[in-house]
């Protein structure tokens, strides 16, 4: 029996929390009710990436790309598309009101400059069905490794691919595996770092939710390569859907003989267990993760010894992040020659980013290394929301730095981002516009690091706290210029003397904003002024009586409320009660509310 149509419903965390499952179930119900259930296969898939426009439903073979779908649209989709063979025009993606509807995915700007390697199966297959993964060459890389390659061949292949770790510093993956393989010892471990903790980052979550088998396959390949029979996936407990899909995937892989004893009759045994992290950001640091995995307090340990020699339970251990592993699965299937054509000379392959902040098209994107930030922000991301002015982009989460307009044409590579005072990190990308205040941003990230510092090493534990206190003073207008020197003094020492990269990079957002936007800091200090109005202690809202027509809109919007005035008479803000939320300022159509 052949289906006439296939309907793919996004069931990633974002769309799912936007009634994705209800949409899926409504479609099933409607297909049944309208008597076409044998004509259409309805599938839950992983993330399509275009989260801005979710929930997303895609219909094949017409490639109709429906956005912002609601459960009540199910009836129409079935009736039109399946029964009558017509598209539901109103649900098709449109760039804006005036533009024509895009029918096909590849015509959508968001996808045009993307190249999906890691996310190749996300939004395409049903992540809860191993057959769909296999049908797309899944586990053929493992098969090739087990039957056609020696462990050293796998390492040579990885070396030829040029793959570097996607979790942060970009250490060559083949080297990590090779060191672990050569480390003496019978018992070795394969660990996956899925403790994605950067604010705004969700690449790993979506990858696992959409394509869990890629990870399992790569971990098994790693086990075969280094001589390990046991793998652990350390994943945040806050990722229940990803955990659930991993559980299903592990079970299916075991049932198929792709994990467990004697994989595919090769004699190689490999098992994977899931371990849930309790949400400490520092547990994304590999040594702290290993401590946590052992059941200890998640505190980084000094390197050396490196995990390759002395990792989990003091055994040689490969620890890579989700994206690194998933790349391995692709490399093993498609070959290093194919893979190494993507990207730049030193940074091969693609990189996924979670695009968030003041961007038109927030979502999950994957681009070849070497793509410029401008391409990502303005072409894929569609530029700044509401036509505001671009201010900067934060890569590398709380460990990265701000990259400004003048560096937007830099091609993204590990080296270029470091040179810009930021880092690749795992791939969070937060876009800021002119309404964002650099002091506020620096304070936000410092507060994050201060909360997430494990407390072990003095420079980080105390440095983050002291820097945060200074930033707080600046945002309140009580700082002096010498405080900027203190920020730099602590920041430099913290960067140099911290034990792990959390402390080692916690000063980056502050130091980089200080470098690029020192004037703004000085405005806060000298003029007690925050040009974006984010630092509420420095902002005063007043109504200009000459402009106010007394419409009362501001008073209605005021949440306190602290705006009073007779109808058609100028209104007044009670400053002593004002919480400086700025609602009146945004509401006034006559420019009568002044921000000072």
């Amino acid at each position: 029996m052949a289906y006439k149509n296939f309907i793919l419903v996004c069931a990633g965390t974002g769309c799912e929390s936007n009634k994705g499952i209800e949409i899926y179930e409504s479609l099933l119900r409607e297909a049944e009710a309208q008597g076409v259930k044998n004509d259409v296969q309805i599938v839950k898939t992983g993330c399509f990436g275009f989260c801005e426009k979710g929930p997303i439903v895609k219909v094949l073979p017409s490639e109709s790309f429906y956005v912002e779908v609601k459960p009540e649209d199910a009836k129409e989709i079935i009736a039109e598309q399946v029964v009558k063979g017509r598209e539901v025009k109103r649900l098709l993606y449109k760039k804006d009101e005036k533009s024509a509807s895009n029918v096909k995915v590849e015509d959508i700007e968001f996808y045009q400059k993307q190249f999906r390697v890691v996310l190749r199966n996300c939004g395409v297959i049903n992540p809860e069905n191993i057959d769909e993964y296999i049908a797309r060459d899944g586990y053929s890389g493992l098969e090739k490794a087990l039957f056609k390659m020696k462990p050293d061949d796998v390492i040579a292949e990885l070396k030829a691919s040029g793959l570097r770790g996607r979790g942060g510093a970009g250490f060559p993956t083949f080297m990590k595996w090779d060191l672990t393989k050569k480390a003496p010892g019978d018992v070795k471990y394969v660990v996956c770092n899925a403790d994605e903790g950067d604010p705004g980052a969700y690449m790993n979550r979506s990858t696992i939710e959409g394509d869990p088998h890629s990870l399992l396959e790569a971990m098994a390949i790693c086990g075969y390569t280094i001589g390990s029979h046991h793998g652990y996936i350390y994943i945040r407990a806050e990722y229940p859907l990803a955990v659930e899909r991993l559980k299903i995937a592990i079970k299916q892989a075991k049932d198929y003989g792709l994990l467990g004893k004697d994989i595919l009759g090769s004699g190689f045994d490999f098992d994977i267990e899931i371990r849930l992290g309790a949400g400490a950001f520092v547990c994304g640091e590999e040594t702290a993760l290993l401590q946590s995995l052992e059941g200890k307090r998640g505190m980084p340990t000094p390197k050396p010894p490196f995990p390759a020699n002395c990792g989990l339970w003091k055994k040689p251990t490969v620890i890579n992040n989700v994206e690194t592993y998933v790349n391995v699965a692709v490399i093993m299937t498609k070959g290093a020659a194919w893979y190494s054509k993507i990207g730049t000379e030193k940074s091969k392959g693609t990189k996924t980013f979670a695009l968030t902040g003041k961007i038109q098209n927030s979502g999950l994107v994957e681009v070849p290394m070497g793509t410029t930030l401008r391409d990502i922000v303005f072409d894929i991301g569609g530029g700044i929301r509401g036509g505001r002015k671009f201010k900067g982009v934060q890569t590398g989460g709380p460990s990265g730095g701000i990259i400004t307009e003048k560096s937007l044409d830099e091609p993204i590579t590990y080296e270029s981002l470091s040179a810009l005072g930021s880092m690749m990190g795992s791939g969070g990308m937060i876009i800021m516009d002119e309404d964002d205040c650099v002091v506020d941003i620096a304070k936000f990230y410092m507060a994050f690091c201060c909360d997430e510092s494990c407390g072990k090493c003095a420079p980080c534990r105390i440095g983050t706290k002291q820097m945060h206190a200074i930033l707080e003073k600046i945002s309140k207008g009580t700082a002096v210029e010498a405080d900027l020197d203190k920020l730099e003094k602590i920041g430099k020492s913290m960067t140099k003397a911290s034990l792990c990269m959390l402390g080692g990079s916690a000063a980056n957002p502050t130091l980089s904003t200080l470098k690029h936007f020192r004037e703004e800091y000085l405005e806060h200090i000298r003029d007690h002024k925050c040009r974006s109005g984010k630092c509420k202690d420095l902002v005063v809202y007043e109504i200009d009586a000459s402009k106010c027509i007394g419409c009362g809109l501001c008073a209605r919007r005021c949440p306190v409320p602290c705006i009073a005035g007779e109808k058609k008479q100028p209104h007044v803000i009670d400053k002593s009660r004002c919480i400086k939320c700025g609602e009146c300022f945004k509401a006034c159509k006559f420019g009568a509310v002044a921000k000072k």
Binding site: A280, R297, M299, T301, P302, P304, C450, D451, E452, S453, C454, G455, K456, C457, A458, P459, R461, I462, G463, T464, K465, Q466, A469, K486, K489, I490, K492, S493, K496, A497, S498, L499
Partner: protein, 588 residues
Amino acid sequence: MINAKINGMPVQVAEGTTILEAARKVEVKIPALCYNDDLEPWAACGICVVKLEGSPKLVRACTTPIAEGMSVITNDPDLVQTRKTVIELILSTHPDDCLACPRNQECELQRLAAEFGVREQPFPKMLRGLPVDSSSVSLILNPDKCVRCGRCVKVCQDMQNVWAIEFLGRGANTRIAPAADVQLNDGPCIRCGQCSAHCPVGAIYENDQTREVWDQLMQSGPEAKTCVVQIAPAVRVALGEAFGLKPGANVTKKIYTALRRLGFDVIFDTNFAADLTIMEEGTEFVKRFTNMATGKEGPLPLITSCCPAWVDYLEKYYGDMIPNFSTAKSPQQMMGAMIKTYYAQKAGLDPAKVFSVSIMPCTAKKYENGRDKTMWSSGQKDVDVTLTTRELARMIKQAGIDLVNLPESEPDSPMGPNTGAGVIFGATGGVMEAALRTAYTLITGQELKDVNFTGVRGLSGIKEASVHIGGTEVRVAVAHQMGNIAQVLEMVKKAKAEGKETPWHFIEVMACRGGCIGGGGQPYGCTDEVRTARIRGIYDADEGSTYRCSHQNPYIQQVYKEFLGEPCGHKSHELLHTHYESKPLYLK
């Protein structure tokens, strides 16, 4: 061997040597706060950072192994600035009450601040006002002074395997606290005090009881009591350090003089009680050993019970092994009991009018003197107050006594004169060696030609030896540093479970590394080098003794003749033996 350079100076060291260790070879001291020779480097403080030529990053000298061809720079203006900033940051979370701090002038943070010339505190104070935990009679925890170097945690968990102290909270809220956030006295703490001996600042320290002793010494009129003091074997080779003498310097006879000048009426030596312990425990061992086949005198191995921290550990962690424990009290408590019975009687004193003070290398002894009702065997509290070596040093300094130049004097009779067997109680293996010296005579009726059992001496964590006594092999084991004990006990339990012969007949256990000479109440700065020197001092004293076996002590013979009757007899059991019970790790 690895060839590298430190500050341009060539250095050759074994593979695996850290930069910090290697630097010492060329007389370069790299400053550090969390580092301690006894512990695995924990790499917390960030002060020992150094530069490697050709690398932009700083590395920690405490944990980074020196590599072939490495060129290390340990000192330049940039490094000094980085270290100084870290010290200033630490000071911003540390109270400035050095003058009233128990570690004043002995504080490692204070020393660093002085060395780095900290003249102002650029960062605002961020103190948390955490409450002081004074629940334990032995140790006081002041978390606000803690610099979170982690030494106490590492000591308690790694060295001692007790797990009474843990990090709680995160980030800036990280604090050191009793595990499970109970009061220190209500958890698994065995009061060994190693945390206090390793703490670089005044965050964990002994409960200072010098005031109580001063009050009694100064008392006149009807409230006055006869103040009797005893000093433990290990005190004599360590106290001098607090007065600038080298570790291991034996100041026994100066201490006697100092104690008299402090106002004590009678000076006894715990060494004497150690001899007494050997008579009791040695007899107990001989009885069990010679009745091994029937087991009617109790099971083997017999395990020593002189160490109160060990007693506490056994009651908390190995309650099932209580039958193997010697019922003999520790020398401190035997002396206490004898002071308020035998001595009081002999001197015509009312035991209630006797104030008994012990000077111990140990914080757990403060707990032991009130451990259970058998510590009141004289009808009074047998030992009223226990002071550590550190507290005695303070009293001597307060009194303006120039210890180093003090004339020597002798202890008082009858419980002063002692043997070499008594003094070696202070070192790991000493109790075993002393017991074997006497057991030999008890079993064979002959005296040993060579009393030295060197196989049980030294700092290796678990020592085994076998001795032939009267044609029978006696297998013994000696373990010190609490973390080494489990391995020994587990082997005993395993043999028992499998119905095999016990691997050893007699086991000595001391909670602290090196035995009492490395006790938690000893002067600060104990390392293996210091321990070795103190041990040397102990064995030198042994070799210089007239009598080297406890049973040869004429005063011991006199005590049994005049008062106790026979070892392990009725009176001994009343005064010199105790009992044990299994205890929970956490009080409810």
